[in-house]
Symmetry: C2
Subunit: 490 residues, 2 copies
Amino acid sequence: MSDHKPLTAFFLVLISAFTLCAQEKAASGEQPNKAVIKEVRGYRTRIREMIRTSLKHGQAYEHLREMCATVPKRVSGSPGAAAAVLWAKQLMERLEFDNVHLEEVMVPHWEPGNNPSLRVTSPANAESTRLPFTPLGGSVPTPLEGITAEVLEVQSIGQLRRIGDQAKGKIVFFNRPMDQTLLSTGQAYGGAVRQRTRGAAEAGKVGAVAVIVRSVSTRSDDAPHTGAMSYQDGVEKIPAGAVSMLGADRLSALLKNKKGVKVCLKLDSQWFKDELSYNVIGEITGSEKPDEILVVGGHLDAWTTGDGAHDDGAGCMHSVEALRLIKEMGFKPKRTIRCVLFMNEENGLRGGRAYYRAHLAEMDKHVLALESDSGGFTPRGFSSDAHKEAKIVLDEIAKLLVNAGAGKVYGGGGGADVSPMRASGVILMGFRPDGHRYFDLHHSRNDVFSSVNERELELGAACIASMLYVVADLKDTLKHNPAPKQRARR
Amino acid sequence: MSDHKPLTAFFLVLISAFTLCAQEKAASGEQPNKAVIKEVRGYRTRIREMIRTSLKHGQAYEHLREMCATVPKRVSGSPGAAAAVLWAKQLMERLEFDNVHLEEVMVPHWEPGNNPSLRVTSPANAESTRLPFTPLGGSVPTPLEGITAEVLEVQSIGQLRRIGDQAKGKIVFFNRPMDQTLLSTGQAYGGAVRQRTRGAAEAGKVGAVAVIVRSVSTRSDDAPHTGAMSYQDGVEKIPAGAVSMLGADRLSALLKNKKGVKVCLKLDSQWFKDELSYNVIGEITGSEKPDEILVVGGHLDAWTTGDGAHDDGAGCMHSVEALRLIKEMGFKPKRTIRCVLFMNEENGLRGGRAYYRAHLAEMDKHVLALESDSGGFTPRGFSSDAHKEAKIVLDEIAKLLVNAGAGKVYGGGGGADVSPMRASGVILMGFRPDGHRYFDLHHSRNDVFSSVNERELELGAACIASMLYVVADLKDTLKHNPAPKQRARR
């Protein structure tokens, strides 16, 4: 045995040992760019102080109170939405944001009307039972005398297609509940919402005369939940509304026990011509790289069942507060942080699209776009579609927010309004608050200011402000995502 | 240079490399007992199914609704508390728990009265301003005509001591707010609550005639928050009550602007003789080791400002539901899981102490005691004082609850009711829900059923059930903590 053999063996063992270490580091998410990690960690004290400031002196809650009191009704194209645009612009001016201005966007104008009703007309002993009801966003009205017909209950669009011939001349009642067993209420919503968005078009195809949809909600109460729906070209447009969850249960029970159940459905919703409206914009101009832009936003429009306190007053006030907080702290981020309050997320996404079109030339200078449109609840983290290298940086920033509850960046996109920017490779982010209460309130009369908690809202704003501030202030600019086509090619 | 020197050098490097790996493993929380880790992971599917079941069919929320509707007023020693004992026992019987029974405990009996009032009597232009007011738990009453005197505002007991001679004949107004900048509301509560618990004793020492305390709360509204206080032997007992946060702000502003501000304070609270009451107990008897016991509980008594929905109706219904869920799933844990609804946490802890005394002989068979007394909010984790080896197991169980939000076991104890068991080395745990909303409601009229969210409550129960079930079912019994004396000696 030569002297060198043990050496070789030791080399091998040694290499194995180091490899093991390296693999474990990789598995635990460690990464190579130590400089930027160190740079991010250097913000720890500033972030902690900003969070403390927000919990004591934050103004998101008071601004939201003012918003819900002053401009509670903000459906696209309405006088209320126009008032909200002016209110938001004045708020940004009051807070001395830079470059406060409006950007034009033509929006659809649909109004829900004032007297929706759903009444059981037969059998006789159930007659005049009224069920809480609201039009779906975009529904055509019924004739003044309403539509009276037999009710056909189905659980899904698939089931309707299978038994389509039975639906002719009837009112189709989509009664699919959200899957409450899912931990993610967003996922549960996704699984049930199609009956609302597509139900009328599908029922129209098989000759139904109207549609009733079980509210897509997590709370068994008497508040109906509205939401967007769309018709299909070439298919008869039939009226569609949402019944409350308890109302749906009552109607379903009646259908099980009685034959020939008829209801009378009345909607006085109305379509008008498109209106000129606006995205509302204000900035903190970057101190060193003012042409590089981070967008933060929510949507200013809201359904009028409630006051849009969580959806999306909270997101708007999160966004405004993020800028205000950064200013209050005296921070001077290198890049520009732009607050965009989008118009018409709920029924058209015209604001998000208009922003993208208007700023197409500077999309390569848009570093990141973060939307808050999941309510003003206690922070849980963020979502992002960032490429791996950028994700490492975002993860590291999130770690500064562990104690605030937002220590994690999940996979996923931003929000609807910022989604057009994906086409240009802009990194998208969404703020992720706790989701258990959201669909109790969402699109219903329960979405009012009193359902918002002050600390939860302010803390959300502080987390968003933290994420924006650090990304906007880092030495190196985060690289864009590969454009979607390139990604598809890989 | 001999051939051996490089070998020695390599040895050293190799050892360093392995040491580094080992240190990293230790730092990342890895540990040696692979068998128990594997065993815990084997529960993943069962836990997931139990969580799904709880979100769909959980009954904690409906039981809490019934509790708040049937026995809302449960202050120790009162007829309401007696009714709650019977109601809770019948609930456990209805749910077919094993060994349902009551255990006697003598409790103090104090009643808050019906007509607390706090009115500004001078200066003339502020006269008759009424401020929302409630007696602190345990306060003596005022004479029928009330106590009218000048007000001296202080921020702390320390300040009162320094200016004690000014307090003679006056009403001392402790106006220290909670430190809202803290992320932990519990910590903020701890920093402000002493003026409530000790204020009357301290003010009595310096000749004050009554005490007004700013509500220890996170929400600026007109709901006063009560809570326990105690007198000191040999010091004059003076009446003490809490004013709402907005009321405190108004009073403080008045004191800043005017001289000689006087208020009239009336309390008709009353002390009675001690009453016989009960802890309410039910079990799932262990299938293999029935003499080994896990306790889960909350406290049945509550202040009567609200209905004790979160404090601690939620904890009681969490505990009952934990057992019910485990039974519904058909799980047969090896050890006994005992639900104890303690009486008199708020003003005496007599129930917790009585349980400990009555079961002292079997304390060595008490494996773990978990209390839920922080409200019914969205789960964030647990706290525990477990020794290192047990903590590793609890951490691993918590990892099964990451998606439910309760993936972490923090340091800290259990709750007040289980705390006496610490003396015998029983591992204590607390359920840790999100705390941002708790002190908005705590001990005030806002602590009612409508402030509880169904999914949040049910999910909390499922997390507690999961933790209990796995610990109760593991092959090996978790070892006790070293007894406190031993710990002190180290």
